[in-house]
Every structure is written in structure tokens, then in C-alpha cells.
Amino acid sequence: MIAPPDLQRRLSAFLDDEMSVAAPERLVSDALTATARTVRRPAWRIPERWIPMPVTLRLAIVPRALIYLLILSILLAMLAAGGLVVGSLQRAVSPAPPTGVARNGLIAYSDLGDIWLVDERGEQRQQLTSGPDMDFTGAWSPDGTTLAYWSIVGYDGDPANESQRWSQGTSGNKLALRLISIDDPEPRTLASVSSTPYQAGQRFRLVTSTAIHRLRASCARGGWARSATAQHRRP
């Protein structure tokens, strides 16, 4: 903003005149006395002292859902690691027993709905289980005295029909887990399940008070459960 020349000239003359006034002598002496009594403030300094204090870090940018997902992933990883550790401990304590060799060195196999024993040369064949039920291969206990095996109770002798009924869940028969000792050939049923549609890889887990007999049933697509394995584990 520029003032009109006339106003600027008059203003400048007035200001020059006013600014030529000298300060009173008393003011000079008073000011010098007052400043002599005034304590100076220190100059600016960079603060060098660190004050310990609790600091809470907040991730303002990361969405809360992402944090939950991260926590869940960590928990799942911990659970998986725990399961691996426990599993390895179990294996170390109770190594997998020989599933096909009894204490007396005979090998169990299934044939014609019964379980048979035979030595490694294929001789000394003897029948372990008998009866109308369809028995098939299980696994020996760790001490090799007891065999756990599968048995279909009420089997009518036709494998094709039985396989179809089991895969459709229409069979009235039961799948039983049985134990039989080489010293006492009287089978003992631990547990049984009714016929349900099952698929390849489906697991049957039957638990008793003395041991865990974990059997895995498998079948070809649309076919009969051709093999089953049983694994003895200490509780």
C-alpha cells in the first residue's frame, strides 16, 4: 500500500521531527541501573538429558483385522510346533512295532476272511482266526503277543456286495476292532462301528483303557477296503 505522495511527504516530515527527540538523561541512567540489576537468561542449549519414560507403540496404519490375523497365525504356528514336538516324543517313547511279526517270528496275513500265520519261509501255516466274520490284517502289539485286527461282523461271504454296501452306508454289519492273543486264540472285541459311507483315507480311531489302537482304513475308489493297518501305542 503506497500512500499518496502528499500524505507521504507530510508524514515523513512529522516522523523525522518526532524521531529527533532525545531521551531524557534520567531514562539513560535508570535503564543502565535496571539492566545492571537484571539477571540474564542462559542461552539456548540442546537438551542432553534423556528422561526414561514408558512408551507405547501403536501401529496406527495396520488394520486391526491384520493384527488379529497375525496373532492367529502365530498361535497356529505354535500349536503346530507343539504337535510336532509331542508327536516326536511319542515316537521316541514308543517306536512303531513290527506290524507283521509275532513274538514267535510268524507273520500274520489275511486270506479268505480269516487271519493266518506263517513263517518267513512260507511254511508252518496255521489259522489264527476263524468263523463267519471277515477278518483282515491288523498289527502286532509291541511285545508281539497280541494282534489287533479288523473284523466285519455279519459278513455274508460276498466281498463285492459287502464293499458296495459299506461304501453306500447300507450295510447292516459292523466293523469291529478285535484283539487276539497267540496264547489264547479267543478273539476279544474292543469296539465296533456301524456301517457308514467312508472314503479313502478315512480314519477309525478306537481307544481302550489299556492302549490306543489306531487303525487306518483305506479303499480304492468305489471298491472294497483292501487293506487296513493297526498301530499299537502306549496311552
Binding site: M1, R10, A13, A23, V28, D30, A31, R40, R41
Partner: protein, 183 residues
Amino acid sequence: MSADLVERAMAGDLEAFNELVRRRIDQLYAMARLILRDPERAADATQEALVAAWRDIAGLRDPDRFESWVRRLLINACYQQARRDRRRRHYEGSVVTIDPTTPDPAMVLADRDQVERAFTHLDEQQRALIVLHFYYDLPLAETAASLGLPVGTVKSRLHRTIQRLRTSLDADARAADLAERFA
């Protein structure tokens, strides 16, 4: 050297600061008197500004800015003085020395009185603005820095101040004309 004195005063040399005071106090007092229009309050404001300058000079970052820094301290001290006693208003009538070479001393005196009356009608902030911009010839940015205001605010205030001065001068001139006509 003024810069040398400032640096010594910043280091705590009271004698150097006193020398600075002796060199600047006339101009500071005159400026305070212009802003406050009262010699007593101007003296108080000048002393306050100088005391504040000595108290805080160690924190001055650039010795070359000493002049403008003290000016700003003085303006703040003037504002404080004005706030302290708004009711006490008596204006000083200064004795003007007339240059005998001037064509018409009576006209010069009358013209100066008119400007002074118009100037007195301004408030303290407007007077400080006029002194900084028209006496020290400070550009707008520097005037704004001295007043601690944004440049835009200073620009609009300067515009209003000049308008007010012109209005007062015009009214005074019309009144003088009427008085002369009906005399």
C-alpha cells in the same frame, strides 16, 4: 563496531551492552513516544524493553538482527504499557523548531499540527505500523516480522491506517476551511 558490541553483550559483557544502550536509547525512546504519545509511558516502555533485551540477549541467534529484535521488544513493551492504562490519556504537545528558511512558518506549523492530530487518532498498533513502514522504510515482510504478524494482515492494516489518516486530515482541513469562512 556495533556487531562486536552485540557479540560481547551476548557473552555477558554489561559494559558493551551499556554502550549499545547509549547509542540506541534516543531512537528507541522517540519511537516509543510516537507510539504511546506519552513521554512518561514511553520512558517506562523503553526501560522495560532494554531490561528485557539484556535479560534475553544470550538467546539471540544472529547478532545482525539485534536492531530489529530490540525494536520488536520495544513495540511489545509499548503494547503492554498501552494495555496497562487505557484510561490515562493525555497527549503531549511538542515544541516545534521552525526553520527560518521555510517560506511560511505558520503554514508549516499548522500542517504539522494537522498530521499530529491525525496520527494521534490512530491506535498504538497503527502508529507502530506507520513508524516501521514510513520512518524505517521497512518492506512489508520485515514490518510483519517486527510486529509478529502475517504479511497479509500487515498489508490490510496498513491500508486501513492510511485511509484513516487521510480521512482525519480531510476532516481537519474541512473544519479549518469552515472556521476560516465563518470567522
